[in-house]
């Protein structure tokens, strides 16, 4: 069934869109009042939105549990890092590497998906988990005897994104407004994120999106309806992976430094938590989950020490520990009170009400 789509968009919606656009445009300057660190956090939130949306295709739409998703992010990041840094002496432009990153990550997705997609559920989860670890260990150790990834030190001095001589890493004054490096990146990221969101929205209601949903709900029935389940699942894997690759390349260009440390299992789990917590299969929910889980630890980082000072007169626990602790508690609590996620998709919600929970 196709969702009913309004032919003409009412002016109210246009006003809303305009306000949202204005807010998003001004956001980095508002954040800059609290410090440039917050602009960077906003940038990270957008990277995580891209990642979470990519994983949402695999987990939320197609219902395949992937615990090694960060591997594709790592592949994308390292493709950019190696092709645009003094490490190998290659300096290709961003727009050449971006599709390349997506393509190579996609190839890895197919490579992993082709033999494993006949497995279901938890077995797939553990295989993907193993794959993620393998990629990380290789990145860590491929510095001897031939130095490819520079091992645990990582690759630094990666080229920033630039158009002509307009580099995104430098602060600059454009039309009388001072832009810092992170603020410039904010707009680039915003552009790419919006692109990713639009593609996801279009995918969800496409023939392919409906096929994914059918497989998630009942694979055998989907097969009986004439869906080539193997190919469609493989497509989900490949598309999810290429979004991961894109996010990775952008991450590389933004940070100008990558090391295997950024791509541990914990990261995979955080991204999965964003998807599940926000509401699997619902794009708005996933975006919300990504924003919440990026901001929550940061907010805790800045509030926990003053709070302790106010309550006990001294800092009892260091901020890093307590923020992860509260993060863990929050994960448990949100799941206990809203097991389908904060903003569940309409389909899932309907299922929960009808079948009493067996999703």
């Amino acid at each position: 069934m196709k969702a009913p789509r309004a032919k003409s968009i009412p002016p109210k919606v246009w006003v809303g869109v305009a306000l949202l656009a204005l807010a998003l445009t001004l956001l980095p300057f508002v954040a800059a009042f609290a410090g440039q660190a917050w602009v960077r956090i906003l940038n990270f939130a957008m990277l995580y939105i891209m990642l979470a949306l990519g994983l949402n295709i695999v987990v939320g739409f197609a219902g395949l549990l992937d615990l090694g998703y960060i591997a594709f992010y790592a592949v994308g990041a390292y493709v950019y890092a190696l092709l645009a840094s003094p490490h190998l002496g290659i300096h290709l432009p961003f727009w050449v590497i971006l599709p390349l990153s997506a393509g190579i990550a996609c190839a890895f997705g197919v490579l992993l998906g082709a033999p494993t997609l006949k497995l279901r559920g938890d077995y797939l989860a553990i295989v993907t988990l193993g794959f993620g670890e393998i990629i990380r260990i290789f990145l860590n150790n491929l510095n001897a005897p031939i130095n490819i990834t520079n091992g645990p030190q990582g690759v630094n001095l990666i080229d920033p994104f630039r158009i002509g001589s307009f580099s995104f890493a430098r602060p600059e004054v454009v039309l009388g407004v001072a832009f810092s490096g992170p603020q410039k990146y904010y707009y680039l990221l915003l552009l790419i994120t919006i692109g990713v969101i639009v593609v996801n929205l279009r995918l969800q209601n496409s023939r392919l999106g409906r096929a994914w949903e059918a497989i998630r709900e009942d694979e055998i029935a989907a097969k009986a309806m004439g869906i080539n389940t193997r190919n469609v699942k493989l497509l989900a894997f490949a598309m999810g992976a290429s979004f991961g690759g894109i996010a990775g390349a952008v991450f590389s260009a933004t940070q100008q430094f990558v090391s295997p440390e950024s791509f541990g299992l914990f990261e995979s789990i955080i991204v999965l938590a964003m998807v599940v917590l926000g509401g699997m299969g619902n794009i708005s929910g996933v975006i919300l989950g990504a924003i919440l889980l990026t901001l929550l630890p940061e907010v805790l980082r800045y509030t926990m020490e003053p709070l302790q000072n106010a309550l006990f007169g001294r800092v009892i626990l260091d901020a890093e520990t307590i923020r992860l602790l509260v993060f863990g508690v929050a994960l448990v609590a949100i799941m206990l009170f809203r097991p389908a996620g904060i903003w569940p998709s309409a389909v899932r919600k309907r299922e929960l009400e009808v079948k009493g929970g067996a999703a």
Partner: protein, 331 residues
């Protein structure tokens, strides 16, 4: 040949630990179909608690024999872990038993983060060393060496596994567990209190995990708040390797995984030595000459890869694990 046997012995020791932890995963999975992600953390807590008890007792009085000190540490650790697992199940998993399948997985991840950071607060960020209480006497086994400690670990693990098999196969509780694993609703109709059975699975698993924690700590001589993570991951891999939900499978998987890892770490350097290749660039040849003709593509730092690599192969060719009967068809 010595190296081979030596690696088998090392692998067997490590494998017994994996097997004990894997049993905890497999019991819980077999009964409620949940990957108890926090199980590795229970192992870590077991190791840390026993370490604290042992250090405290060593500091208090000198007359107590070493065996008693370790036993005391073990008992306290087992009790703490059992309580912990009971509480964890009650708070984080039980309310979600009818929720979508991924929800309890997320709470399990949350619990794992909580436990890690609690341990970080209590025991700090540094590696803690475990005092040598058992003198490392070595025995010669067919040209390879095996320490007392290794023998003790293997023997104790074997005894515990035998005990578990007895409980599951011969007691009323075991029968209830098997029935619940087959069909919780029907088991409930037959008068089995499912909640008790599930709690029992968690608690027994935690007790085994505590023992495994102490073992791995005495074996390596160090403990760390992060140690449970990779150990748990590998134990879970072992459980899947053997066929998750299957007790014998977990034991077999654990021991196999330990041996594969040890053999892999022992031999990969030689196998991937590229100096014997006919076509080498000049720079590589120079490197070979400088390094005693030892230039390996992969070193023992790839040890952790084997576990996952083998796992992927097994799952591709035998998706239900070595001893598993059917693929769990629930996504």
């Amino acid at each position: 040949m010595d190296t081979f046997l030596q690696q088998i012995i090392n692998g067997l020791t490590l494998g017994s630990v994996y097997a004990l932890v894997a049993l905890g995963y497999t019991m819980v999975y077999g009964i409620i179909g949940l990957i108890n992600f926090a199980h590795g953390e229970v192992v870590m807590i077991g190791a840390m608690v026993s370490l604290s008890v042992v250090t405290a007792l060593l500091g208090a009085g000198s007359g107590v024999p070493a065996a008693l000190i370790i036993l005391a540490g073990l008992i306290v650790a087992v009790l703490v872990c059992m309580t912990l697992a009971y509480g964890m199940e009650k708070i984080a998993y039980r309310p979600l038993r009818k929720a979508p399948r991924l929800a309890p997985l997320i709470t399990a991840i949350g619990m794992s983060i909580i436990l890690q950071n609690l341990a970080l607060m209590i025991w700090g960020r540094n590696y803690l060393t475990f005092p040598t209480l058992i003198e490392p006497t070595t025995h010669n086994v067919l040209g390879a060496t095996m320490t007392d400690l290794q023998m003790l670990i293997v023997a104790l693990a074997a005894a515990l596994m035998a005990g578990l098999v007895f409980v599951v196969q011969r007691t009323r509780l075991g029968m209830a567990m098997r029935a619940t694993a087959q069909n919780p609703q029907v088991a409930g109709l037959m008068g089995i209190d499912i909640n008790v059975v599930i709690s029992a699975a968690f608690v027994i698993g935690a007790a085994l995990a505590a023992v495994a924690g102490l073992m791995v700590m005495t074996y390596y001589g160090i403990a760390h708040y992060y140690m449970g993570f990779l150990l748990g991951l590998k134990a879970f891999t072992a459980a899947v390797l053997g066929g998750i939900g299957n007790l014998a499978g977990a034991m077999l998987g654990g021991i196999l995984l330990g041996i594969i890892e040890a053999l892999g770490a022992g031999y990969i350097g030689d196998v991937s030595n590229i100096c014997g290749f006919p076509m080498l660039s000049d720079t590589l040849q120079e490197k070979c000459a400088a390094n005693d003709d030892q230039l390996s593509l992969f070193g023992s730092n790839y040890q952790d890869v084997f576990a996952f690599f083998v796992l992927i192969l097994v799952l591709i060719f035998r998706p239900s694990g070595l001893l598993g009967e059917r693929v769990a068809d629930r996504a």
